[in-house]
Symmetry: C2
Subunit: 333 residues, 2 copies
């Protein structure tokens, strides 16, 4: 496998748009694309409780064009997609808990927002390559592990329903309007640059905040449920490799292919912190999907990519990052 | 098989809401539910180019409550679902051609509209039984025939994408909020009471209008593509039987289980009219799905229902209806 940096050389000079570009995944792509010599536009609505944080790509602030805007704003989107070669369309409502409490908002962003971008590309950027961040939540109730891309869609959250709807929009615009896109069904992402203001995003990162604050970690129930935690550097490498590939359309699971029990994840993080076992809160319990381990045979084969960062290394790098920069992510209070 | 009328006796005294109740399928359900002694509320926005026609249930006008309204109106929907026992949620944007030309409108009605009804039921009518009219268009590009309910979703129209999204909302509200619903994936419906103002609804009915006007029928391409035409009386019997069943959630294909070549359908209708073979117009061509024949094993088994009306009888009854009432459906000009 050629070094990933070499494989991303073709990004040099490319016009790249990253929606949701101030979030964890988006900003990591922004940084790597800038490093590879791309001309990067960052679009983010900077919604207060969402994932955007300008600190995430502050070293590249001068090299990027920042657009404060929302993917639901059709007139703005029609302007910003013009002349782009690659669009990472990562803007999203990310919390599955919130999706069930406010299904209209989730649908508005995660379905209508993406339809808006696709319609704009059909008219104004028909040759663009689109990357869409879908989620393991489209599978919902898991029937078997590891989960391949043909697993049924037993969505247990409005978030999952609307991510699937988003996927189908991409698939439709490929089939009927010849737009190129790659859909990634992301397992459990974690790493530096995730927002840490509240616990509704990735739980691994949240546990890191609690541990750094010296608080006890709480594990719901037995904590034996398996999750597939994928480090943001591996995840974004896969997306970038997809963006520079010749693939016209595909759907990939994006995880490590290995499972880790929830309590073992917590133990790795906690070290010095104590762990309590308590009842599951109702709003989280009812979306429990069962164990989830990605089958990543397809993405390995098609993208010649594999995860490189072990969970121990990933946690260490994340803890290190927030130990240094935590004050940019939450108020010590 | 007990006579269907006997099996629908339990509708007596039931409070039934039919959204899109002035359309072909809706009004047929309204009439049968009234005949069975149900208290029926009809909700329809009477959008000019859509399927609603008050003539469709005029004999029952005094026995029904008519609400002029749109399923996207949350405040109104929250009122109208209260105390209902059964809701046939049939309101829809029906044209797949229009869905591709105006994807936002299709999404707004066929996805948001149904989410609005489901949210209202969760809050105000948790014990209601919901019936949802989905479509064969969720399958899109057909991989095998007959098509069972496990066929992949290769949507070729925005209409199909949003119908699938609607289904997933129903499935979610069943799994997570215990709402009962049955989803019917309807093949090619036809029969009395379809709107006949333009050709964007079912083509079989449109051909009947042309034939009654003495015009020539035009068959796209070879006309060998197989379709599964289901007569509205059979279709609505299945929905009504679902509504009075004990089923908490299920998804059924709803067709006859037999295919008919497009040109044979046209020949049956045309009789005296000539038939031309011309090129496919582009906007219809690109959603051609290939042959479609429903596998109806599941619905036969679970609902103890089977289609009773042959295509010859169904066409004869439809021609007869419009011969008598055509002036209520289109302007002779």
């Amino acid at each position: 496998m050629t070094a990933i940096k070499d494989r991303l050389k073709s990004l040099a000079g490319k016009k790249v748009l990253v929606t949701g570009g101030a979030g964890m995944i988006g900003s990591t792509i922004v940084r790597k694309a800038c490093a590879a010599g791309a001309e990067v536009t960052v679009l983010d609505n900077m919604a207060p409780l969402y994932g955007g944080n300008l600190f995430n790509f502050s070293e590249y602030a001068d090299e990027t064009q920042m657009v404060y805007g929302d993917i639901r704003n059709r007139a703005m989107i029609e302007q910003v997609v013009r002349d782009k070669d690659i669009i990472f369309n990562l803007a999203a409502q990310v919390s599955y808990v919130d999706s069930n409490l406010d299904p209209f908002n989730d649908r508005d962003i995660n379905a209508k927002g993406h339809l808006t971008v696709l319609e704009a590309c059909r008219e104004h950027a028909p040759d663009v390559k689109l990357i869409f961040s879908s989620s393991r939540f489209v599978y919902g109730d898991i029937e078997y592990n590891p989960v391949d891309e043909r697993h049924p869609f037993n969505c247990l959250s409005i978030y999952g329903v609307n991510k699937l709807n988003g996927e189908k929009f991409y698939q439709f615009y490929h089939r009927n309007h010849d737009l190129s896109s790659i859909i990634f069904r992301i397992a459990n992402p974690y790493g530096p640059r995730q927002q840490m203001k509240h616990s509704k995003y990735g739980i691994l990162n949240w546990f890191i905040r609690l541990a750094l604050e010296g608080k006890r970690l709480t594990v719901f129930g037995e904590g034996t449920q398996q999750r597939d935690y994928i480090f943001v550097d591996d995840l974004t490498d896969a997306m970038l490799l997809g963006a520079v590939s010749d693939i016209k359309f595909d759907i990939f699971n994006l995880g490590t292919g290995t499972g880790l029990a929830f309590k073992d994840m917590a133990t790795k993080i906690a070290a010095a912190a104590g762990i309590d076992f308590v009842e599951w809160p109702k709003d989280r319990y009812f979306v429990e999907t069962g164990d989830y381990i990605s089958d990543i045979a397809r993405i390995k084969d098609r993208l010649n990519w594999k995860p490189l960062v072990s969970i121990d290394e990933g946690i260490a790098r994340t803890v290190e990052y927030y130990r240094e920069h935590g004050k940019m992510y939450w108020d010590a209070g």
